[in-house]
């Protein structure tokens, strides 16, 4: 059976890259004694699929992986067994048995939501809310995308599904918003800071980096904020449940039908 696992990644773990996270989970699944299915062949590997790779330095409250299990006591037991063997900075949030018809996590990803706050100081942007609204109200947001192979002009606006200014709690230790939300004992130490929130295309064909949107926004307002001073947090990863031709309907990957 196919099981979708939702997890958070924060604190020092934000420095662990995608491939190492895969290795981390392979070992964690062994430690937790989960009855995962292995591929056939001389060197069998665990059947496992990750949703959208997370850039190094970004924290997340909405990471996903799918595994294929041979047997399962309950999804709660699986969540507990995994959490028992997690390190600080990775927390299993939920697990759900998926209908067999659901595409794997990676193929299902359509969008992701992010928030961006500053690690130090305040946004040097007067009228932050209005500026964000004006930026998003543009008909087009042209962007020159440089890849190893080519330089192409794209319109970012197509892939920004929503954008607004909000507030977030952060734990001052590592200026982590994810830790502030996940660690109840940290409640008293938390502070509230403004953040920029957005939902953007995260599909394999049209993925948009939140930092690119942020840079365009800074450019629009004429302010300079080095990327080293921002903390990006992925809040959720979505699939699109709409049928072809219908209006986009974003559903968190955990709830995919």
């Amino acid at each position: 059976m196919k099981i979708r696992i939702k997890f958070a990644k924060y604190g020092s773990m934000k420095f662990i890259g995608h491939l190492d996270m895969m290795r981390y989970f392979q070992k964690a699944i062994r430690r937790a004694g989960i009855d995962i299915r292995y591929s056939e062949g001389f060197s069998p590997h665990q059947i496992m699929s990750f949703a959208a790779p997370l850039g190094v330095g970004i924290e997340s409250l909405g990471e996903y992986l799918d595994i294929e299990a041979v047997s399962l006591t309950s999804t709660n037991q699986l969540t507990d067994a995994l959490n028992e063997t997690m390190v600080e900075g990775v927390q299993i949030l939920a697990a759900r048995i998926l209908p067999d018809t659901v595409k794997n996590a990676m193929a299902s990803v359509a969008a992701a939501s992010y928030q961006i706050h500053l690690k130090e100081g305040t946004f040097p942007i007067p009228d932050l809310q209005e500026s964000a609204a004006a930026f998003y109200a543009q008909a087009q947001i042209p962007y020159t995308k440089e890849t190893k192979k080519s330089i192409i002009e794209v319109d970012l606006k197509q892939g920004i599904y929503e954008m607004h200014v909000g507030e977030t709690k952060v734990l001052p230790d590592m200026m982590s918003a994810a830790a502030a939300m996940l660690l109840p004992e940290a409640e008293a130490d938390c502070i509230t800071v403004p953040c920029i929130c957005m939902t953007v295309d995260a599909s394999s064909s049209g993925n948009i980096k939140p930092t690119v949107v942020f840079e365009k926004f800074c450019e629009f307002t004429g302010c300079k904020i080095p990327l080293s001073n921002i903390q990006v947090t992925r809040l959720e990863t979505y699939t699109n449940s709409a049928r072809e031709g219908e209006k986009r309907q974003l559903v968190p990957l955990l709830l995919q039908e």
């Binding site: 070992k27 062994r30 004694g33 292995y38 734990l171 590592m174 903390q231």
Partner: protein
């Protein structure tokens, strides 16, 4: 939440930030207010190398099993972070607490190979601890060295407060207890060192000096503190089945060199190859109980989630319970989809059968280490591997489907002639020919066999019969490598043979360090100040800086390398007793020069001296005989 020593900005700039964040599975966090002793355990090389070392995992686990001790890890910051730390004046920190090393009670540095010596200075420098022991005050950690290179600690003696000679399991607790007692009494650093010198296996270099003769050799060792012992006897664990072994090794996030569970099945070796230092240092041979190994294998796999387990020893085929252990592992690991890796197995019908069960024959290669190209030279070095055995093993392997063979040789061994070097090409060729004779055309995968022949340069090491032997110059080494290549090119099957050889500069330097005295320490310090670091990494090795440093110090490198030592020369390491006697080594050196082999411990005791520790094959057999008589 744990706060990191480095800010996000720095971690995002450096290659592999995971090297510096700690927090790995099974890394140990403790309340620092409850730890009477804080011990920083350092492997002076990059994280991926250091994390692959079993010895540190054993000591880390043992120290942390003491309720009053918190042991944390430190590795060498790679050159990118090194620069940032110097520029921004960031003190070196431990991975667990992320606190400065300078605030610890001890800094233990493992010495696994000579080419890490400048990295020791990097560690001290970044930790903001004076490089020389004599310049440290009571507020600074006690800097302690251990591991194989501490069997000739003299080139680095000035950088350490003390050395622990031998296996770490036995005397650390007494040493720590004395540290606490001295602290309680408000004793000084010097008081601590004086007391430490009384503990077996502990060597305090500051209590001695070397006096030289006019020709540069050592005249005598003089004691500067009367009560310091004349001889330091190595420490060792006699019952290796009932001693500390880690059941929860730390699991790194990034891929490291040894990314697997390591099961040490025995210590020591019965073989007595004359070039091999480990084979002498770790005598007598001591096997671990097979039931203990099964238990630990299961525990370590369950606690780490590793997908591979590897057996570790100097010669696994000599482990008497190997059959039973492998049967257990093969059955258990197959069920759990875990790979078994089997290094250092002799190639024969048994091992090939085992390997075919645990490896993909098509993808794996077989390794032979004849070490020398001719039978004559193999007799000189006492490598009991004959051409017949190699060819028989290779033939069996080719029948079993293997098509890749790795061969390891050394160049520059004592008494080596051009004929011996030609033998390397000839033996490689015979193995290739054995493939074509054994495997019919229609069954050849890709139609061919792949022989990879590698040579390293022989470096005489202390406590081996070759400690008296001259070492080649760089030019001689390169000429020998050239001859080897030529010899291989002349072979009929040369297209099937690939030849690799090493750089000679590093080998020469390693030779100087291996048999160096205290004066060499000056050159190491000078080279470090000129920017030498990570000398074992070819991209950061600067031979010109080393040559200039030796020159500055008025030291002749050849004095340490190419000189043939007199039988009665006083060596810098003579004050250490590693169990094997100097008389035995000298006997072996004479036999080597006559090309006479010595049987292994199991066949016939050679009287090496290690029996007095109350163990080893000869001791066990002696005991049985004794019991029979009763």
């Amino acid at each position: 939440m744990r706060k990191l020593a480095l800010c996000d900005d720095i971690l995002m700039q450096v290659e592999k930030p995971a090297r510096y964040i700690g927090g790995e599975v099974n890394s140990v966090m403790k309340d620092k207010n409850k730890a009477a002793i804080r011990f920083a355990m350092c492997f002076p090389d990059v994280y991926e190398i250091g994390m692959s070392h079993l010895g540190i995992q054993i000591l880390y686990s043992m120290f942390n099993s003491f309720p009053d001790v918190w042991c944390e890890r430190v590795y060498s910051p790679w050159t990118d972070l090194d620069q940032i730390m110097r520029r921004e004046n960031i003190p070196l920190f431990t991975l667990e607490s992320q606190e400065p090393v300078r605030e610890m009670d001890f800094l233990g540095i493992t010495l696994q190979y000579e080419m890490c010596y400048t990295n020791i200075l990097q560690i001290l420098d970044l930790a903001q601890i004076p490089l020389l022991s004599k310049d440290r005050d009571d507020s600074m950690p006690i800097v302690i060295g251990g591991g194989p290179c501490s069997y000739n600690p003299e080139p680095i003696a000035a950088f350490f407060d003390l050395f622990y000679i031998g296996e770490g399991e036995t005397q650390y607790r007494p040493l720590l207890d004395w540290y606490l007692e001295n602290k309680e009494k408000k004793g000084s650093r010097l008081d601590f060192l004086k007391g430490a010198a009384r503990i077996p296996g502990i060597y305090v270099p500051g209590f001695y000096e070397e006096v030289y003769q006019e020709d540069g050799t050592i005249k005598e060792r003089r004691k500067l503190y009367e009560e310091a012992p004349d001889v330091i006897c190595k420490e060792l664990v006699m019952n290796v089945s009932n001693t500390h072994y880690p059941d929860k090794p730390v699991v790194p996030f990034i891929k490291v060199t040894q990314d697997r569970v390591v099961l040490e099945i025995q210590r020591g070796c019965i073989r007595g190859c004359r070039f091999c230092q480990a084979g002498q240092l770790y005598r007598p041979v001591r096997e671990r109980d097979v039931e203990m190994l099964k238990t630990y294998a299961a525990k370590m796999l369950a606690n780490t989630g590793h997908e591979e387990i590897s057996l570790s020893s100097l010669s696994s085929s000599d482990y008497s319970q190997l059959n039973e252990l492998l049967d257990y592992l093969i059955e258990d690991c197959d069920r759990k989809h875990i790979n078994i890796s089997l290094p250092s197995l002799r190639i024969d019908a048994f091992s090939l059968d085992v390997m075919s069960k645990v490896q993909d024959v098509k993808k794996s290669s077989l390794t032979f280490a004849p070490e020398a190209g001719s039978q004559r030279l193999r007799d000189v070095i006492n490598k009991g591997l004959t051409e017949e055995v190699i060819l028989k093993g290779a033939t069996l392997a080719f029948q079993g489907g293997w098509t890749r063979v790795k061969l390891y040789f050394m160049l520059g061994l004592p008494t080596e002639t051009e004929e011996d070097i030609r033998g390397i090409g000839e033996l490689s060729n015979k193995i290739a020919a054995a493939f074509f004779d054994t495997v019919p055309k229609e069954k050849r995968v890709n139609g061919r066999v792949q022989i990879v022949t590698s040579t390293s340069f022989f470096i005489p090491k202390p406590f081996t019969p070759f400690q008296w032997a001259p070492m080649c110059t760089k030019e001689e080494f390169l000429e020998k490598a050239h001859q080897t290549r030529k010899g291989i090119m002349e072979q009929l099957n040369q297209k099937s043979i690939k030849y690799n050889w090493h750089e000679a500069d590093v080998s020469v330097l390693e030779g100087v360090f291996a048999r160096g005295d205290r004066r060499v320490g000056q050159a190491i310090l000078t080279a470090y100040k000129r920017g030498c670091m990570f000398d074992s990494w070819s991209e950061s090795f600067h031979n010109d800086l080393w040559l200039a440093s030796f020159q500055d110090c008025g030291l002749d490198m050849e004095f340490y390398t190419t000189r043939k030592r007199a039988d009665d020369e006083i060596f810098p390491w003579d004050f250490i007793d590693c169990g094997v006697t100097r008389e035995f080594l000298l006997r072996e050196w004479k036999k080597a020069q006559e090309g006479i082999v010595s049987p292994n411990c199991r066949s016939k005791c050679q009287g090496c001296g290690a029996r007095r520790f109350g163990g080893g094959v000869c001791y066990e057999e002696g005991k049985e005989e004794h019991e029979d008589q009763d």
